[in-house]
């Protein structure tokens, strides 16, 4: 039946979009499908993907965390400063994660205890974190010693370390969301927080943890990006909140909460965004076109998503007169 086929296409819209982009880029440039280039795309997406995974947790509860870009910056700034002053790498990295967690806790406190809209709280945190980081670094860029970038470029068993980190985070997040009580309760909270409270779920606790996870993911993503770029610049992590939300939504996460997945969903979205940018670089496209093309793709994906949910709804509605739809007997 045509309708079913259409629905199946819509259901797998992100996948189809991904395949189309891949095919087009592969046809346009023979370098694109090069194994090394594909590995590159994976490594480059790892940072965005991890922010997007944290963001997915928050979006699932029908919240949002706009502060991730600022949190990335301030976490990495702290780590960078510590590395500069001769502290061991592990301690500096740990400190960055703690900074991310603290930012998450502050967000969570105001959202859950003070009942302030997540949008407002995290927007304030975005500027606060950026401002704090700029003051802290005196707006100077810091170039990292080689031992930092060595992490980003080395491999274990042929797999680059950033990809390994991404894989671990992905699997952990996926299992948490799909197989743990906490994960399933997040979906319940996102569906209807009032119902969740009545069903005996601690909504406050769930929301709190979700913002902390998002803060920690942002810090971890910042560290991954640091090991690849080797420098903390004042614009580090800028606009990351948008690519993170875009990646999650591209992967089918609903901004209204209660719907979305890490695998393939969010991971897919992040890799897709990176693929487009990578492809444009390889094609030598005008750099001014990057944001335009990326935003068009995101718009298209969200459009598809809204068409999909409407189609799904009408498909699953029980017809009053099923006989009207019976074709050739």
């Amino acid at each position: 039946m045509n309708k079913k086929l259409g629905l199946r296409c819509l259901n797998n819209a992100p996948l189809l979009l991904f395949a189309t982009v891949f095919l087009l880029l592969g046809l346009a440039s023979d370098r694109f499908l090069d194994w090394q280039n594909l590995l590159n795309i994976g490594v480059q997406s790892s940072s965005t993907a991890i922010v997007a995974i944290g963001m997915t947790f928050v979006l699932l509860t029908a919240g949002v965390d706009l502060s991730v870009g600022g949190v990335m910056f301030v976490a990495v700034a702290v780590a960078g400063k510590m590395i500069y002053s001769g502290q061991p790498l592990w301690l500096s990295f740990l400190a960055a994660l703690v900074v991310g967690i603290i930012a998450g806790v502050i967000n969570a406190f105001f959202v859950t205890r003070m009942k302030i809209a997540a949008f407002v709280v995290t927007l304030a945190m975005l500027f606060f974190a950026r401002g704090f980081g700029l003051w802290f670094t005196q707006t100077r860029a810091m170039n990292m010693p080689d031992k930092v970038t060595a992490i980003g470029t080395s491999s274990v068993l042929g797999i680059p370390i950033p990809l390994l980190v991404l894989a671990v985070v992905c699997i952990a997040a996926h299992l948490t969301l799909s197989r743990t009580p906490f994960g399933r309760q997040i979906y319940a909270v996102g569906n209807n927080s009032d119902h969740a409270r009545k069903a005996g779920i601690s909504v406050t606790r769930n929301l709190f943890i979700v913002y902390v996870i998002c803060g920690a993911c942002a810090a971890l993503a910042g560290l991954l990006a640091l090991t690849q770029t080797g420098a903390v610049s004042p614009s580090f992590g800028e606009n990351k909140e948008f690519s993170a939300i875009a990646a999650a939504v591209l992967g089918g996460t609903s901004l209204f909460g209660g719907r979305g997945k890490i695998l393939p969903g969010t991971l897919f979205g992040a890799v897709l965004i990176q693929t487009v940018e990578n492809g444009l670089v390889i094609l030598n496209a005008n750099p001014y076109l990057y944001p335009i093309i990326t935003s068009l793709i995101i718009f298209f994906a969200i459009l598809l998503d809204s068409i999909r949910s409407r189609a799904l709804e009408s498909f699953h509605r029980r017809p009053i007169r099923p006989t009207d739809f019976q074709t050739n007997p």
């Binding site: 743990t180 009580p181 399933r184 319940a188 569906n191 009545k198 209660g258 017809p319 009207d324």
Partner: protein, 503 residues
């Protein structure tokens, strides 16, 4: 469990429970008890204190005075979790399910079985299967809940109570959104539960259901027990007079008008693929026309089409001799149409807004004054006062009060006032008395009478056949989107109408 011994233990005892809100006593020394494995029918008008009483039992509220005994021991739940641990389950009128989760996940959402931190899916699946079997639902535990019908969701709620080994299940208006068939299925399940020795508290405005299911009856009025005893000592009319505090000889006001032969609304060959087909009828001025049919028979969909909310494929709709087929809902309202939807909370009211704001919502353009066409507050307050009296809104409510603080019956009166203020010629009422008490129902019926007296035409959709028989001049039956029968007043026969709606 019922051991078969003749002595009946007390499952639950309320002892002089007093509850106050801001110094107002809403429960005045309420005392009663339920025997183990018995079913108590709890009846009372909206605002009589039923919900407060049950919220105390469910741990949502704590009483000021008095004590509770459950299973022979003092029981003072501080939270819903306490009540749940004790074995008390609540099936709320508004279902508390998560559409994006599976049936199994809904059953165990706050007590997932785990092994090593991960959900033990096979155990969850098996336990859910067992509970679903008990309520006669033949569905996979992995089915997402938003794919279920209202009746199936109700069963899932009961399965949830069973999966948690509840010994006492409270059902609050469980049949309001069910079809007759689904309700029949529910009663069968409840009888099974009674057999298994589970204690039930059944709250409903449908007194017939209460009488059929219960062993004992408890009647509340104004926070006091006004009647308590075995059901054999309560006739339906006795229940009603106890609830209302006065005698209502008839559930329905006497008819005070006769319909004219002047057509108000003419519907010809109306069709929409998959929804309705060949709908043909004429509604006259001063007539009350009822539409009977099961939920899902296309009644509400027809109303939405008539009001212009959904498109049509074929046919014509004529209001006052002009076709309105191409008009938007806003234009139809201007032509004198009104539509009270079945879902007053989400579609009929702005819950946060005041009574006055809600009442003047539709007729707002009437209050434009001056060159800037600003709304004139004085004339609004005059009209609001007039119409709140017309619909007999409770005197204790302020015009500026938020409608969400009103009882169901009073909320419905606000919705009615909102439409009547616009002086409609055709009023479509979809389940106008759902979930409201006997007294308020009577007042709404009186209002319908009065509107027809003034020449308006009324189309009433209802799942309660008694109600249609009581107030309509004519009843149409619908099934699978088609009109299957027409009955004039004088030839209303319950059996025949039901047969036309079902077969």
């Amino acid at each position: 469990m019922n051991t078969g011994k003749p002595s009946i233990k007390t499952a639950l005892r309320f002892d002089s429970i007093v509850k106050e809100f801001f110094g107002v006593r809403v429960l005045k020394e309420v005392s009663f008890e339920i025997g183990e494995g018995k079913t108590l029918g709890l009846v009372g008008e909206n605002g009589a204190g039923k919900s407060t009483l049950m919220n105390i039992l469910g741990g949502n509220l704590q009483p000021e005075e008095g004590s509770l005994w459950f299973g022979g021991q003092p029981f003072s739940p501080r939270s819903p979790a306490d009540a749940e641990v004790a074995g008390i389950a609540f099936v709320h009128q508004e279902l508390n399910l998560f559409g994006n989760l599976s049936i199994a996940e809904n059953l165990f959402v706050n007590c997932f079985p785990t092994t090593g931190g991960l959900i033990n899916r096979s155990r969850m699946f098996n336990d859910t299967s067992a509970a679903l079997k008990q309520v006669g639902l033949n569905l996979s535990p992995d089915t997402p809940v938003d794919r279920l019908s209202a009746g199936e969701q109700q069963m899932v709620e009961i399965a949830k109570a069973l999966a948690r080994d509840a010994r006492l299940i409270i059902l609050d208006e469980p049949t309001t959104s069910l079809t007759d068939i689904e309700a029949g299925r529910l009663f069968k399940v409840l009888r099974d539960l009674q057999q298994q020795g589970i204690t039930l508290i059944y709250i409903s405005h449908a007194l017939e259901e209460v009488a059929n299911l219960s062993d004992d009856i408890l009647v509340l009025r104004d926070g006091e027990v006004v009647g308590n005893g075995p059901k054999s000592s309560f006739s339906q009319s006795k229940m009603i007079s106890l609830m209302v505090g006065r005698d209502i000889d008839h559930l329905f006001p006497p008819r005070s008008h006769t319909p004219t032969r002047k057509p108000a609304l003419r519907v010809e060959k109306l069709g929409r693929k998959g929804v309705v087909k060949d709908i043909d009828f004429t509604l006259h001025e001063g007539e009350v026309l009822g539409i009977s049919g099961l939920i899902g028979s296309g009644r509400t969909e027809l109303a939405r089409i008539l009001f212009g909310l959904d498109p049509v494929d074929s046919g014509n709709i004529t209001l006052a001799e002009t076709s309105i087929l191409k008009l938007s809902p806003a234009a139809r309202i201007q032509k004198g149409m009104a539509f009270l939807t079945e879902n007053r909370r989400d579609e009929g009211l702005c819950a946060e807004a005041s009574i006055a704001d809600n009442m003047t919502l539709v007729a707002a353009p009437r209050f434009k004054r001056g060159p800037l066409a600003l709304v004139n507050r004085e004339s609004i307050s005059l009209e609001v006062t007039r119409y709140r009296e017309a619909v007999r809104l409770t005197k204790s409510a302020q015009n500026t009060q938020q409608v969400k603080t009103l009882s169901g019956g009073n909320q419905q009166k606000v919705v009615l006032a909102k439409w009547i203020l616009n002086q409609p010629k055709l009023i479509i009422l979809d389940e106008p008395t759902r979930g409201i008490d006997v007294g308020a129902k009577y007042e709404i019926y009186s209002l319908i009478n009065q509107l027809t007296q003034e020449g308006a035409a009324v189309l009433v959709i209802s799942s309660e056949l008694e109600e249609l028989i009581g107030i309509c001049d004519r009843i149409l039956t619908m099934r699978q989107g088609e009109i299957t029968g027409q009955f004039n007043q004088g030839e209303f026969d319950r059996e025949k109408i039901l047969a036309a709606a079902i077969h």
